[in-house]
Subunit: 202 residues, 4 copies
Amino acid sequence: MDTGRMEAFSDGVLAIIITIMVLELKVPHGADVGALWPLLPVFLSYILSFIYLGIYWNNHHHMLQVTASVSGAILWANLHLLFWLSLVPFVTGWMGENNFAPAATALYGVILLIASFAYWLLQRTIIVDQGRNSVLAKAVGRDLKGKLSPLLYTIAIPSAFVHQWIAGGLYVLVALLWLIPDRRIERALATRGSSTIKRKGS
Amino acid sequence: MDTGRMEAFSDGVLAIIITIMVLELKVPHGADVGALWPLLPVFLSYILSFIYLGIYWNNHHHMLQVTASVSGAILWANLHLLFWLSLVPFVTGWMGENNFAPAATALYGVILLIASFAYWLLQRTIIVDQGRNSVLAKAVGRDLKGKLSPLLYTIAIPSAFVHQWIAGGLYVLVALLWLIPDRRIERALATRGSSTIKRKGS
Amino acid sequence: MDTGRMEAFSDGVLAIIITIMVLELKVPHGADVGALWPLLPVFLSYILSFIYLGIYWNNHHHMLQVTASVSGAILWANLHLLFWLSLVPFVTGWMGENNFAPAATALYGVILLIASFAYWLLQRTIIVDQGRNSVLAKAVGRDLKGKLSPLLYTIAIPSAFVHQWIAGGLYVLVALLWLIPDRRIERALATRGSSTIKRKGS
Amino acid sequence: MDTGRMEAFSDGVLAIIITIMVLELKVPHGADVGALWPLLPVFLSYILSFIYLGIYWNNHHHMLQVTASVSGAILWANLHLLFWLSLVPFVTGWMGENNFAPAATALYGVILLIASFAYWLLQRTIIVDQGRNSVLAKAVGRDLKGKLSPLLYTIAIPSAFVHQWIAGGLYVLVALLWLIPDRRIERALATRGSSTIKRKGS
């Protein structure tokens, strides 16, 4: 089965998740600039979640670029990832509206942790399906970033109860780690030679 | 007429339905973990509906994979299915916010029952259009699961007034039945030989 | 320029319009079946608007099937149509929540009237662009339904102030007129011969 | 990497942004025409933002038409643009609900200014990636409109505090400037010869 429709559906869900988050930025009642002030934490958490979802979309895009076909297991691993990402607007809103309160900031990390596990599970399912010698298997390699992120989330979650900015700083750090696009897949694709690259969506 | 745009539109509608359901998970006012407690039934009903919509998307995807072209009747049978699925967020919210109250739990089953009928109607419309010897007709075969599900819903609806967990348990059971991906179509495709498989979206 | 992305964008907007309408069906506070009763007019107006948007999507789909390329003017005529259709959820909600009050029922007709004009304008823009001998020009022909609908809306709007069910009945009548899929384009395509049919999205 | 999925994702996000803006048009409680009166500023600001987002979608569409491939930098420059455009519904709602109050009208201009910068950055990133002799580089040329718009926004923002209609008038003026579709790219494509035009999405 082709990856086209799974990508289209994932794009749709991710586009909606990334956009409905902005609905948490509720139009304030006052008409002066001061009325915007209480929205600052909501806005900051929106920026952070927008970047995280952008990273997920980016890496998802790269990963499916080197996935030739889709099985039932892959479809469900993908839906499982989308389920946890669909909770990001909720935890973003809770964290933002409570000015980064410890419990909310910790829960934000819990969702990030589970989502990173769900992403790893999808990656694993694809590799099992495509074989150990597939481009993806080689591109992922030792997957340093994929192992470091859950570790940092696991440190961040309890530390939110010590001080929320420790957790917040760690979330920003993980985002920065991933902002650098995943060159591994691009490199693996380049080595394989562009003549055999699977063309998709065209 | 090509199936491409009907799939794209259905993907869009299903992606939105699956995502706006999360808006029922309203950000609580309290900032401690206890504030999340009242959201538990909403969250549980969200998980159930997410899985149901995932199953519908999955089966829809499989079915259209073996549909060569789209007629006016198929377009309307598809919109009819999407209409009933669009009510899932409403019944999910009602059931979740009322802690699985009998009437809400029964109505949830009513919508699932009508949606399963609408899916059957779409399947029938495609088979009539494509002919008795089409891949879909062979893949569907006796359609045991398709006949068992409405039966179980019909038992679940009145039993919600006896005890809501009987109905809830039956909904979970039907979901589990379908979570096993629809191998019939994959098998029918495999028998037909992959060389003649209709390529779509590419 | 290809029609692909304009179709994708229109599908996205129409899918969202058709789905956010269901958000007007607000989850009631009561947990018994009686709590659903006040939602009946909202539900009825939702059904009507769902069918109307389905008709628009269907006809839009048919029309772009015979459109070879897209110019700047066509893009803007399309956005103009989407603008008026984007107001359908608003007028549907107003009409439904006020139990088909005269002003709301009339305004519903006003939006339908303007949308039908916007559709005609898009059709005209495409015909001007593609030429008088294009498949679309022949398929549209005398465009009886396209001329009858605005006439019926124009009768319906003032009659909403006499009795809302006259207007409501006329809206249902127009919907029924269009529910019969637009065979003209299918017929025109068939005459042209399927070998020269423009393949799109594939 | 192909531009297909980046376009699909951008279309999704833009379609949602353009559509959720209509949710700010909240269904009024009264049932007579007078109840619509307070919604007029919200409606006017909705029209303006709809046109702006239409312009962005249009120009984005044109620009990617002459973009052959997508790099990591382009993906992020695109997400950066989508981030600022995602704030348009918020500033539209704030401006509309406060009857074009000075601060809200100024903030609307600030978001337009940043979005125009983000668009320029995306354009620059693509040109750097595709080379100085690419079709896009030639099509953009001296980019008069692209330089005039931020200038006019910069004048409009402080002038909102003198009188909001000066700012409002300038926003309408910029929209009119851009409503004329970007013929430069169409012209550049025509010069290059249609035989070598990159076909996309087909």
